[in-house]
């Protein structure tokens, strides 16, 4: 493990984050957007763990904040999917471009 330089891990998580942003930008399905957001949070977590492993003076800090990020991600997914279900019940669609009630 020690053999891998920190910059390679950072570039890997950058690519993962970019893939997540791409999904959030181009998906029509709201659930697809939520999945992409989970990917982005996951990339941020990898960064936190890598920094805590390589540079931190108190190595527990990065892992603690990764735990916080996981908790927030779980609440985000739960609330987001509840909103999707409520939306589906009212509008019978989960596609972002068909939800244009407030669009001028």
């Amino acid at each position: 493990m020690i053999g891998i330089p920190l910059s390679h891990i950072l570039i890997f998580s950058l690519l993962l984050f970019a893939i997540g942003v791409y999904g959030a930008l181009v998906r029509r399905n709201i659930i697809g957007i939520l999945i992409s957001i989970e990917l982005m949070l996951n990339a941020a977590n990898i960064n936190l763990i890598a920094f805590s492993k390589y540079t931190s003076l108190s190595p527990a800090t990065g892992q603690i904040f990764a735990i916080f990020v996981i908790a927030i991600a779980a609440t985000a997914a739960a609330v987001g999917l509840a909103i999707v279900l409520a939306l589906y019940r009212v509008r019978k669609t989960v596609y972002t471009d068909e939800v244009n009630l407030l669009k001028w």
């Binding site: 920190l6 970019a18 181009v26 390589y54 800090t61 779980a74 609440t75 609330v79």
Partner: protein
Amino acid sequence: MAAKFGTYAVMAVILIFALGVVTLRNIFHCALCLAAALIGTAVLYVAFRAEYLAAIQILLYVGAVVTLIIFAIMLTEHLAGKTVRQNNSQSPLAIAGLLGFVALLTVVILKTPWPVTQTALKAKVSVMALGEALMGTYVFPFEVISIILIAALIGTVVIAKKDAPEERL
């Protein structure tokens, strides 16, 4: 050497599954790819000597969040139905912008002298140390997270429950 190669292989597999998450047409397959990418990340955490995080990742992400997403997909979509277009027409623009973003940040990452310390590389974080930090230094954020969790729980139930029948006025 083998561990190094294995870690790079895990990274490549995670990226392939992540590409599957954003490109596959069937949203159910996307959710399964997400589960695979998250399991790969847990393997990466084990390689980083963060075993507790790996366990949490499997339990919370792969166990709870992916299950939740699959439930939402099954409640909103007919799996065997016709395949509809999943992407909007902004794909080329998004790819161009993100390539610039990735190139810029790669240059920044490679030019920054990261202060890699030998003490951090040798350090072992036990679950006990994590618990002590959570109950000591980080007890205030811990309480805030608890409040957020309970608020999200109540809010989710309120949003997702069926509306009560109209009250007679």
